[in-house]
């Protein structure tokens, strides 16, 4: 019994991170058609910021979490202003916006990742944080993993609540349903787009900060999370935040079970198998009606 609990819980902990990354990416794509391949690079920036705070400033990484979110939010505003505003203004159609923003984020990925290599080198970095074992129901976890899981789920739920219950959230959902209709009733794209892009990056940064508490970090750490987030979005359906949360947790568990019963080096193959199967069978997502 405790064996299954441990396995599923391990999956859920990874899945919580997947969910946070995927929700941010999904918001950006659902609202602005920006498929931000560089999303994982901003996760990596969040991880490095936290690592710097923990090792140089000797700060508690959890206390530093809001700072990471704020910094990444501001970076997001800047990146949107410099890159994506021009694309959405000059492109003749939605498809062109998609293609160009994909290429730009491809460029961003190389830019940010290699800049990180220049700044910090290729070594793995890390710090110890709350790595004490805790026992729950006969299963053993390190405390930092539980903290990470709690914060990941909390971040996702807060965002869900904001989208569902506040006026801003309503505006975002309206824009996803019908951009023209939303503009007709007075929702301001010029404000909403950069803010949502910034929130997406802030979520990526938080995910990176949380990851740095558990794993060692490197400039290349972000890329797999981008790909995984994409798989999660496909599972949950484009634009669906609840779908991204459930899909993220689900993929985490599937990976944990699959890796246990086959081999850890098959992780990527498993995720891709799920991805292609879902795309073939239910291209609109598992939970689409």
């Amino acid at each position: 019994m405790s064996f299954w609990l441990e396995l599923v819980a391990t999956g859920l902990i990874t899945g919580g991170i997947y969910a946070v990354v995927a929700i941010g990416l999904n918001l950006q794509y659902g609202l602005m058609r920006i498929m931000n391949i560089a999303h994982g690079e901003f996760l990596m920036l969040g991880a490095y910021l936290t690592w710097l705070a923990a090792t140089v400033l000797k700060l508690n990484p959890l206390v530093f979490l809001p700072v990471v979110a704020l910094v990444l939010f501001l970076i997001g505003l800047g990146v949107y202003r410099i890159c994506f505003r021009r694309i959405s203004r000059t492109a003749p159609s939605v498809e062109v916006i998609e293609a160009r923003s994909l290429l730009v984020s491809f460029g961003l990925m190389f830019l940010v990742q290699n800049a990180a290599y220049l700044a910090w080198g290729a070594d793995l970095r890390g710090y110890a944080f709350l790595d004490v074992p805790v026992e729950i129901g006969g299963a053993r976890f390190t405390a930092n993993r539980l903290v990470v899981f709690g914060f990941a789920v909390a971040a996702s739920l807060v965002l869900l609540a904001v989208l569902r219950f506040t006026l801003v959230g309503k505006a975002v959902r309206a824009m996803m349903q019908s951009p023209t209709g939303a503009q007709l009733v007075g929702i301001d794209t010029a404000v909403l787009h950069p803010v949502v892009f910034g929130v997406g990056l802030a979520l990526a940064g938080v995910a990176g900060a949380l990851l740095s508490m558990v794993y060692e970090i490197s400039p290349a750490m972000g890329e797999p999370y981008t790909v995984t987030a994409l798989i999660v979005i496909t599972l949950g359906g484009l634009g669906s935040t609840v779908g991204a949360l459930v899909g993220g947790l689900l993929l985490g568990v599937v990976e944990a079970l699959g890796m246990h019963f086959t081999s850890p080096s098959l992780k990527m193959l498993l995720s891709y198998g799920v991805f292609i199967a879902v795309l073939l069978a239910r291209p609109k997502g598992l939970f689409a009606r």
């Binding site: 730009v104 290699n114 220049l118 081999s263």
Partner: protein
């Protein structure tokens, strides 16, 4: 179109003489140029025409390279190279059949992940069944024959993309790029056309991978499935203008020279700047350098007209 064919023939003839005229360093530089020219032209043949952004070049290239890694020795070089192309084309056709109904970002990201997928699959396979990480290529063919093979593939790639452009098949590809539903209404079998185009461009990437693999002597998944190859291909095509033929050819020469000189000395800085270049290019010159040409031509024509007008005035006065 005849003079253009003659020009191509002369160019290929000159390049074929290169091994006996150039130093080893220059020859390897020309080889890199030819490799990227072949990759880019055939990438543009499919992705430039259809607007299906494929990031799978690294996967096709790597598959070709692994065909060499597994087959070379047992089979002669001249068999391994086309075999690498065929293996990539078959892989592309299978994947294409599964995912080419996806448009836009989904397709791009899925193909981006293909390289990773194949890399992990081969790493896993080699570790668990062959118990190796990489493979050594014993007795590689001499550099002249490698060079001539790559030249032949690159020339064939250019020839194929010219031929495709002027054929019904090429028109169908361009029709899909302009408006897929309209193309389908007009009687194009879009599914079959897309799969064939994707497989054809994969064939050349695979053949180039198979031909180039012998130059490395030691082959491992991480080096031949290098995402940089796919990135560079897309970048070169975008810089040159993916809808044209000359644009990608010219920019592949420029980029190969830059890469050869800068990448080894400042690897991270070089890639950072390449990323920046791609961003600036998409933002400010989305049609590539080739889109400057009509503007330039119009300016020259306008200038000529003004000069003629001035001369006319001078004659009257």
């Amino acid at each position: 179109m005849k003079p253009r064919h003659a020009l191509l023939a002369v160019l290929v003839g000159l390049l074929a003489a290169a091994p006996w005229m150039l130093s080893d360093f220059m020859l390897s530089l020309v080889l890199t140029c030819l490799m990227y020219a072949g990759l880019t032209v055939t990438w543009a043949m499919f992705s430039g025409a259809t607007n299906y952004l494929s990031l799978a070049t690294a996967a096709f290239f790597g598959i070709g390279a692994y065909v060499t890694a597994w087959g070379f020795g047992a089979l002669p070089y001249a068999v391994v190279v086309p075999l690498g192309g065929v293996a990539s084309a078959v892989f592309a056709a299978l994947i294409g059949a599964a995912v080419l109904h996806l448009r836009g970002a989904y397709f791009a990201v899925l193909t981006f992940g293909l390289g990773e997928l194949v890399r992990h699959a081969i790493t896993y396979f080699e570790k668990s069944y062959a118990h190796t990480v990489g493979r050594v290529i014993a007795n590689p063919p001499e550099s002249t024959s490698v060079y001539l093979t790559v030249l032949a593939i690159a020339a064939a790639a250019v020839w194929a993309s010219v031929a495709v452009r002027r054929s019904r098949f090429g028109l169908a590809l361009a029709g899909i790029g302009a408006d897929e539903e309209r193309a389908e209404t007009l009687g194009v079998n879009t599914r079959r056309t897309k799969i064939a185009g994707f497989a054809l461009s994969a064939f050349f990437a695979g053949a180039l991978g198979a031909a180039m693999a012998v130059r490395w002597t030691y082959i491992e998944p991480n080096s031949v499935f290098n995402p940089f190859i796919g990135f560079q291909t897309v970048l070169i095509a975008m810089v040159g203008g993916a809808h044209t033929l000359i644009g990608p050819l010219v920019s592949s020469v420029v980029f190969s020279v830059l890469t050869e000189f800068l990448r080894l000395q400042f690897p991270y800085l070089f890639l950072t700047l390449l990323g920046l270049a791609l961003i600036l290019l998409v933002l400010y010159l989305p049609g590539g350098l080739a889109s400057l040409w009509p503007i330039l031509r119009a300016r020259i024509a306008a200038l000529g007209a003004r000069l003629a007008a001035l001369e006319g005035e001078g004659a009257r006065g």
